[in-house]
Subunit: 225 residues, 2 copies
């Protein structure tokens, strides 16, 4: 597959040029405002080429997304492995670092491209498009399982007596972290991304450690809806 590169064609293929242009424009302006004509003009290709290569604008969005998300999550897994190599079971903060830091690394030092990608990610979460949702979930499913397992190991090892950490609770707390990370990093006015990421790791670690020890229970009237 993917042999659609002709010998007499341009330096880079049409498909890749579309992806690059779309990524930049989506980041700058958002999905809907950006028109296919803008993209194809910036990529110096014909308007119909988008529909030929990707099928629709929606599919192009997903393709752009998948590429970056792959990169982000690969980096996360690498760092997770390093955390385990350093110590097994790993330190809780190291696991959280492995999840948070790569998102930060996308913030290309002053280029401010990172904020925009986080905004894109947030847009994808909030988007009513189910196909886009599905693609994200698919891309994230494995990562979330790996990190949830790692967090359970790390947290459980701190409590000598306790047999195991409630898995559902950890998964829920990982969701809290994803929300906090995405929301905070998407903020265009964020001043010190590194300090913020560091604070988030400490906050999440304290939250995970503290919940099991908390005596105070905030019970809403009914527990199940």
């Amino acid at each position: 597959m993917r042999l659609n590169q002709t010998f007499v064609s341009d330096a880079t293929g049409t498909r890749d040029r579309i992806l690059d242009a779309a990524e930049r424009l989506f980041a700058e302006q958002g999905f809907y405002i950006t028109t296919l004509r803008e993209i194809t003009h910036a990529a110096s290709v014909n308007l119909a080429a988008v529909n030929y290569h990707f099928g629709s604008k929606q599919a192009l969005v997903i393709a752009v997304f998948r590429r970056r998300l792959d990169e982000l999550n690969t980096e996360r897994l690498t760092r997770l492995d390093q955390a385990f190599a350093k110590q097994t079971p790993p330190v809780l903060e190291d696991v959280l670092d492995a999840f948070v830091y790569p998102a930060l690394a996308l913030m290309g030092d002053g280029h401010a491209g990172g904020h925009r990608f986080m905004q894109l990610l947030m847009r994808a979460y909030a988007d009513p498009d189910e196909a886009l949702h599905g693609a994200i979930r698919e891309e994230y499913g494995y990562i979330m399982r790996r990190f949830a397992d790692a967090l359970i190991e790390a947290a459980s090892s701190e409590h000598d007596a306790k047999p195991s950490w409630p898995a559902d609770q950890i998964r829920q707390q990982l969701d809290f972290l994803v929300g906090a990370l995405t929301y905070t990093m998407a903020d265009a006015k964020l001043k010190h991304p590194r300090a913020t990421a560091s604070a988030l790791v400490r906050f999440a670690a304290a939250g995970i450690r503290g919940v099991s020890q908390t005596k105070y229970a905030t019970d809403f009237k009914e527990e199940l809806s």
Copy 2:
């Protein structure tokens, strides 16, 4: 102001009918997919009525938003006052409850309208539209200040000796909470909203309490970007 109700007109005014229809359709489908023709058809008004009453589709989005957000934040302030009435300085969990619970209350028991409003809120955060951003910030600014102050009071009172809680840190942690709340509640597959909200309050309380005591410091290479 707002006396645009004629005696021979329909039961409800044109303006309100547009708002109601737009709110429902935006929630179901999102901002961009929903057309003005859909809205005006559902509201049984003329297409041009939208531009007459609101000026643009963008302005309509903001108007729909402001109405619900007002309601949400008023309820939050009421509960915050109750927390202070019960005990001053208030209990940390009570303050967090006052912020989290009203978002939950929007989830009209089975009607599932709450998830959708939270999705709408997330969409608004992620939207590249600066006018919408500005309207949200304006609506939220006062609330965030009030809750940040309350959290500082609550947290500081727990540490007898320590003079005051770092204000910037609390504000940052409040942002973490907003992100986690919005992301989690927007999830369409959320099973037990009440239990989740309760867990979030405990998580955030532990996070806030724990950070100051944490010895482990996750320092990224450089602290300032």
